[in-house]
């Protein structure tokens, strides 16, 4: 058994010293030979990209796509022609890059970035995965680890069988074989844990490189950590305990570092980067403003209303778009229907109604809530305002029906 312990220690040590995440940056405009390993990986990514072009949630707004490409090119610099960016209307905070330069930016990320500097940091992070060949490096590292793990498993099995054959009783032999099996399982788990540790190292590297690229492009480096602080705060605002507790402790099987670790690393690096106070808040908001309403509607469909309300509070902090934001705040409360939520929804619709940019549906919803409250006069006023402002609305007859039922006292 001493031999199998030694084999395990050797395997763990070998798994630990295999290639690290750090890698030299790829040259701009480089397309690998299609017969190479990297060329094969690119070929698979090309197919995924071709399939993605026809997906239902691709956002085709030329202005938004031009804006996103512009920010991407600022952080990618010479590599700009290597990247193809697609905006997808998906409500989660996410972006990703494929090894062939295909980039997905999800609307949930754009909705949650406070300004262009935060957005540029995330794009810089994704671009760094591409520039550092992270997929290829991870593939090679996993292959090396698999070879080492296989050798360790064989060594453990050989030592275990030899030890079992020397046992004096059947039960002793069985115990040795059980222990051998357990050790092989440990090597297997160590292999998986090493895969995830490597992934975390790549993510941490992409964080720091992304922050650096955004700073070199002229953005405030402090904004990178701010984006993770916002993610942490929104997680804590979730309606669900499991979500609130999801990122409070680390695990060897996590693919990404904890947000708290990312913030600490980014805060530490920020003072060493070029100083700038440019966050591009106004131009960023102008770019996403036409999509605020649709993206908030998508976010409501996740039905984690605590998170959506937290997000709306952040978006409203600057005092912009208050008609749209208060309307969707009302929608979140109306859909959640917790204690007191309908009253909060009514107040939010009222706040929306005082703004020039409120969706007309705010008056219809206000009418419905007042009708439920028994406020017939208030309901009537809201319904009549809706019909006056939207006489051609497809649901005008429904609102007229509601008015009629008020007249009948039902």
């Amino acid at each position: 058994m001493r031999g199998s312990r030694l084999a395990l220690i050797a395997a763990a040590a070998a798994l630990a010293v295999l290639p690290q995440a750090a890698q030299a940056q790829r040259a701009a405009g480089l397309r690998p030979d299609s017969t190479s390993l990297e060329g094969g990986i690119w070929g698979s990514a090309d197919k995924a990209e071709a399939a993605a072009r026809t997906k239902a949630d691709v956002n085709h707004d030329p202005a938004l796509n031009a804006y996103v490409r512009g920010v991407t090119c600022k952080v990618a610099a010479d590599h700009c022609p290597d990247l193809r960016v697609y905006v997808l209307d998906r409500p989660a905070f996410n972006a990703l890059v494929a090894p062939n330069g295909y980039v997905e930016v999800w609307s949930g990320l754009m909705l949650r970035s406070t300004d262009e500097a935060e957005f540029a940091y995330v794009l810089g992070h994704e671009f760094s995965h591409f520039a550092q060949n992270h997929t290829l490096v991870a593939y090679n590292a996993a292959k090396s680890r698999a070879n080492v793990a296989l050798a360790a498993k064989v060594a453990i099995a050989v030592v275990g069988v030899a030890a079992a054959s020397g046992a004096t009783t059947a039960s002793e032999a069985q115990s040795i074989m059980d222990a051998t099996g357990n050790l092989i399982d440990v090597v297997y788990l160590a292999e998986i844990a090493a895969f995830f540790r490597f992934s975390r190292e790549q993510e941490a590297e992409a964080d720091l490189l992304g922050q650096k690229r955004a700073a070199i492009a002229g953005y405030d480096a402090r904004s990178a950590a701010q984006s993770w602080r916002s993610v942490m705060a929104e997680t804590q605002a979730s309606d669900f305990k499991r979500v609130r507790e999801s990122r409070s402790r680390t695990s060897v099987f996590e693919s990404h570092p904890l947000e708290a670790e990312r913030i600490a690393a980014l805060d530490k690096q920020a003072p060493s980067l070029p100083a700038s106070s440019d966050r591009g808040r106004e131009r960023y908001r102008a770019a996403i403003r036409p999509h605020l309403s649709a993206w908030l509607r998508d976010d409501l469909r996740r039905r984690d209303f605590g998170q959506t309300l937290h997000l709306i509070d952040r978006l409203a902090a600057g005092g912009e778009d208050l008609g749209v934001l208060n309307y969707y705040r009302g929608e979140a409360y109306r859909l959640r229907r917790g204690d007191g939520d309908l009253g909060r929804a009514r107040d939010a619709y009222l706040a929306a109604a005082a703004q020039p940019d409120t969706p007309l549906a705010a008056w219809r919803e206000l009418g419905d809530i007042r009708k439920r409250d028994g406020d017939a006069a208030g309901a009537r006023a809201a319904y009549e305002t809706y019909l006056a402002k939207a006489p051609q609305a497809e649901d005008a007859w429904l609102v007229q029906d509601s008015l009629t039922s008020l007249d009948k006292g039902s």
Binding site: K55, A56, D89, R303, R364, D368, W397, L398
Partner: protein, 195 residues
């Protein structure tokens, strides 16, 4: 070991029952949906309820050419707390029926449930008065896309009576299938008796 077997046996029994889940014919003629709804089918459909993921026990799903090509959702009375689509996890809830839903919210319940079926860009159009039997309700058109981008069209009717809501929803690809089965789906809607 015996205790472990005792704990596992019910799960195995459920699994073996699930393995028997199958598609059954729904012949032309009257079809009962639970205890509170009836429709008349003009032709034979297939009852695919048991193979549809996330189906509530009060919901029956019929198809002619398969679930990707046409679906007809028929519900018994959905009471407060019921859903059209069962959530996959507590943290991923699906729309619930509420006790005090407005007509607009009843339509929203249907469209948000369609979104929960993983359809994208679900929109409703042309809401108009409709009846399911004696119950007054709303009928409206639906458009959506599959995740891969296939255009989907639909028509839905939703009505409330006795504190429960009843839904009939027909969905099919816009290309060929929607129009091909629409007359039959409309006839089923017209035949509905609820409450």
């Amino acid at each position: 070991m015996r205790n472990a077997l005792r704990a596992v046996l019910p799960a195995l029994a459920v699994l073996s029952l699930a393995a028997c889940a199958t598609i059954t014919p729904a012949p032309a003629g009257p079809l009962k949906v639970g205890s509170g709804a009836n429709v008349t089918l003009g032709r034979q459909w297939s009852d695919i309820s048991l193979v549809m993921p996330g189906r509530h026990k009060k919901v029956r799903v019929l198809s002619i050419d398969g679930p990707l090509l046409n679906r007809l959702y028929l519900t018994d009375g959905l009471a407060p707390g019921d859903y059209l689509i069962k959530p996959l996890a507590k943290e991923r809830p699906t729309p619930l029926v509420r006790a005090d839903m407005s007509a607009t919210e009843r339509m929203e319940f249907v469209t948000d449930s369609i979104s929960a079926m993983d359809y994208q860009r679900v929109t409703l159009a042309k809401p108009r008065p409709a009846k399911l039997g004696e119950a007054s309700g709303v009928r409206f058109d639906v458009s959506a896309q599959t995740a891969e981008g296939l255009e989907i069209k639909g028509v839905a009717a939703v009505a409330e009576t006795g504190g429960k809501i009843y839904v009939i929803l027909y969905l099919a690809p816009a290309e060929h299938y929607f129009a091909a089965t629409l007359p039959e789906a409309e006839a089923v809607m017209a035949s509905a008796r609820v409450g």
